[in-house]
């Protein structure tokens, strides 16, 4: 190579080179072990390629070797921030396959647990979202309150994160004494706290500048990508499986479905996705108050537990609203004691698939914001 060729190599094409950044698998803001291959032009991101699978634990293969009840602890570990919801929906899917009814009290206990779990999960989501845009204090605030919910769970079933609480046909323990009082106390304490988060983070000018109008997800794109949960609702689609496809006893409660209204920018921006979660916590509190008031005190939670979980041949696709969106279980049975096929339709998996679509053209800082607003749990996307 001659000198002039070399210099042409160096100076011939004076053009900003595309830089490839490897964000993750170990990075503070990928919420786990997600690897993003980011093609950048300066600070502007031109393309993103997510690489999944760093937390793949063969959930679906394991299910083929386990009996139906043994799968429940594995569902815990999928979305480990909303284990109750996973338990609940899996148990209901198997119950539907078996045509099994559960008692009224069990239904109420399940709804109470799942709604508490929804609050806990949303607290985590908004706290870490604050962390993603650079505010550290909201995170500690939300964790302080999430801790109290975990205390309630611990009081109920002994576990704080992975509960294995909701079983096929019932729940593992009855509610402990005083649970209703403690839960009510928590709700009374918690509701004013939401205003505190709003003061600290939601209506902060810098926060609005960082999240409003950023990463806008139009409703049709959201539906085409099968987005669900707060991500879909923030785009203005009034769709909540608890109301629109009621399962369990959700049709007995009075609550609103929160949709994004573009208060701080465009409908479907990061701020909307964040704020939908904040308001949903209020709705969960509403449901919880009704459920705690209506719940029958008498009854055995183990009454309907089947001796042996052996559903008849057939298959079922059952879906429910986990904190992250539509969590579905496709279960096929061949009449034996182990499921023939379990497929978990995880909401975060679908929500993450639209991430590169809405984040192209934004700056590197916004990538972190958008990823945080989608609120993924890698245990669930990778299974």
């Amino acid at each position: 190579m001659t000198v002039s060729e070399k210099s042409a190599d160096n100076f011939g094409v004076v053009k900003a080179e595309e830089m490839v950044l490897n964000m993750g698998p170990q990075h503070p803001s990928t919420h786990g072990v997600l690897r993003l291959k980011i093609y950048t032009d300066g600070e502007i991101v031109s393309r993103i390629e997510p690489h999944l699978g760093y937390l793949h634990r063969c959930f679906e293969k394991h299910c083929e070797y386990l009996s139906y009840e043994q799968v429940i602890p594995f569902t815990d570990r999928c979305d480990y921030l909303a284990s109750m919801a996973n338990n609940h929906i899996y148990a209901m899917a198997v119950e539907k396959l078996m045509d099994l009814e559960v008692t009224e009290k069990v239904e109420y206990i399940r709804v109470i647990m799942v709604e508490l779990q929804r609050i806990a999960s949303h607290l985590m989501a908004i706290g870490t979202f604050g962390l993603d845009v650079g505010g550290i204090t909201p995170f500690t605030y939300t964790f302080r309150d999430r801790e109290r919910i975990l205390d309630l769970f611990e009081y109920t079933c002994g576990a704080r994160l992975l509960y294995n609480y909701i079983w096929v046909g019932g729940v593992s323990h009855d509610l402990p004494v005083n649970f209703v009082r403690l839960a009510t106390e928590f709700l009374d304490y918690f509701e004013p706290q939401i205003d505190e988060y709003n003061n600290l983070l939601t209506f902060n000018k810098i926060f609005i500048e960082r999240t409003g109008d950023v990463g806008v997800l139009p409703a049709d794109v959201a539906i085409n990508y099968a987005a669900s949960g707060p991500v879909l609702r923030a785009s203005g689609v009034k769709w909540d499986l608890r109301r629109d496809d009621p399962y369990s006893i959700y049709d007995r409660f009075d609550f609103d479905v929160i949709v994004g209204d573009g208060q701080m920018g465009t409908v479907g921006d990061c701020w909307d996705r964040y704020y939908v979660r904040v308001l949903e916590m209020r709705e969960s509190v509403k449901i919880l108050r009704q459920a705690l008031a209506q719940m029958p005190t008498e009854g055995d939670v183990h009454e309907n537990l089947p001796k042996k979980v052996r559903p008849p041949e057939g298959s079922v696709y059952f879906r429910g609203e986990s904190p992250r969106g539509e969590l579905g279980f496709f279960i096929a049975s061949d009449g034996k004691s182990k499921p023939f096929r379990v497929k978990m339709r995880s909401p975060a998996f679908c929500n993450l698939s639209l991430f590169s679509e809405i984040s192209e053209g934004w700056m590197l800082s916004d990538i972190v914001t958008i990823l945080g607003s989608i609120d993924i749990v890698l245990g669930e996307t990778d299974r």
Binding site: E43, G135, T137, T140, Y141, M363, L364, S365
Partner: protein, 374 residues
């Protein structure tokens, strides 16, 4: 105006039993004698400020902060003083930690980077007074000197980021360069307005003017704006939240210091806290009356005879200036623990489209104000 350098030079050349020395030799001795306390001050400042920051953040976040490590058996219990030895332990840890240099890093520049940053912060202390004559050297271009010296630090940041051969570091370095250059302008312009009124670049002159007239923050409505511009730009200059983009941990891992460890990392840390003190000292001197007592001024206004209070002597001066500095540093910490971080383009927008036009108009308006009222 006397300074520590002048007095020490006078003192050393006055000692009879010493052999005759040239002025240069004496200057070297004096430089060492004065440099050591500055270095000690920076180190101690970082220790105290880090502890303070942890406790402040813990207080704001409804938790306790460091509680376990004590000094000489004193742990402080569950009070504010709990875990008093934590930062000392951290400092020792940093000093004995393995110092890694990445294989593909540009070794000389990688080593040089933190020293440039530290050197810039260190040198700035030469010109900063904490009282009448309580200064290492009272330059007649003091304000200008500090601006000049602090503009050098950015080179260290860029070098550190570039030499690490890490893309996150490079991003941090580029952001930092753009940020610091941008915010130097509003910072300088806000100072300019004070310089214009006083007619001197000397810190002691500026304080003297404030003693004879009034503090600059209440000089005119425009200086209030200038104070805020200066304060916020100062926060941006020292790379603290909401302007901590060069080291944004949620985006760039740790920005330009990602690859650093041990002592070199500690140098970054020392400089960051030293820079906080420098900016706060400058703000206090230029806008908040330096070592002047706020109480004395208030009592004066209330008509209390001067003999009734003893709150404005030289020692009180040191007390007052440190109270002001501590308050300003606390405000910076307050920012950090409550605000989210800005985005690079918003940062540039704030500097170029908000602060600089305001600062320019400010200079003009203060000029008119002076023409009318002075």
């Amino acid at each position: 105006m006397s300074s520590w350098t002048d007095s020490l030079v006078g003192f050393i050349s006055g000692i009879a039993w010493l052999p005759d020395m040239s002025a240069g030799t004496i200057m070297v001795i004096v430089a060492v004698l004065l440099g050591l306390p500055v270095f000690t001050f920076m180190a101690v400042n970082a220790l105290v400020a880090v502890y303070f920051e942890r406790k402040v953040s813990a207080f704001m976040q409804d938790r306790l902060g460091p509680m376990e490590v004590g000094i000489f058996g004193f742990k402080g219990g569950k009070k504010f003083w709990g875990g008093i030895g934590q930062t000392l332990a951290d400092a020792i840890k940093l000093l004995v930690k393995e110092d890694t240099i990445p294989k593909d890093a540009d070794r000389p520049l990688f080593i040089l980077g933190p020293f440039i940053i530290f050197g810039a912060a260190f040198t700035a202390f030469i010109g900063l007074p904490i009282g009448y004559g309580l200064v290492i050297s009272d330059f007649n271009i003091g304000v200008f000197f500090i601006s000049a010296v602090s503009s050098v630090g950015v080179i260290g940041v860029i070098l550190a980021g570039w030499a690490s051969n890490n893309k996150w570091s490079l991003y941090g370095a580029m952001r930092s360069a753009a940020q610091i250059i941008s915010y130097e302008l509003p910072l300088g312009m806000s100072l300019l307005l004070v310089v214009m009124v006083v007619g001197s670049l000397q810190f002691s002159e500026i304080v003297l003017w404030q003693e004879q007239h009034r503090w600059f923050i209440i000089h005119s409505p425009f200086t209030v704006i200038a104070f805020f511009i200066f304060m916020i730009s100062g926060v941006a200059e020292v790379n603290r939240t909401p302007f901590d983009l060069p080291e944004a941990e949620s985006e760039l891992v740790a920005g330009f210091m990602t690859e650093y460890s041990g002592f070199r990392w500690a140098l970054f840390f020392l400089s960051e806290y030293a820079n906080m003190v420098i900016i706060s000292l400058m703000t206090a001197i230029v806008f908040l009356g330096g070592w002047l007592s706020p109480v004395a001024g208030l009592l004066d206004m209330a008509g209390v005879p001067a003999g009734w209070y003893y709150l404005s002597g030289p020692l009180w001066g040191i007390f007052w200036i440190f109270i002001k500095v501590a308050t300003l540093i606390f405000i910076m910490m307050w920012f950090r623990w409550t605000f989210p971080r800005m985005r690079p383009d918003q940062l540039m927008y704030t500097a170029w489209k908000v602060f600089i036009p305001f600062a320019l108009v400010n200079i003009f308006l203060v000029g008119i104000w002076e023409l009318i009222f002075a």
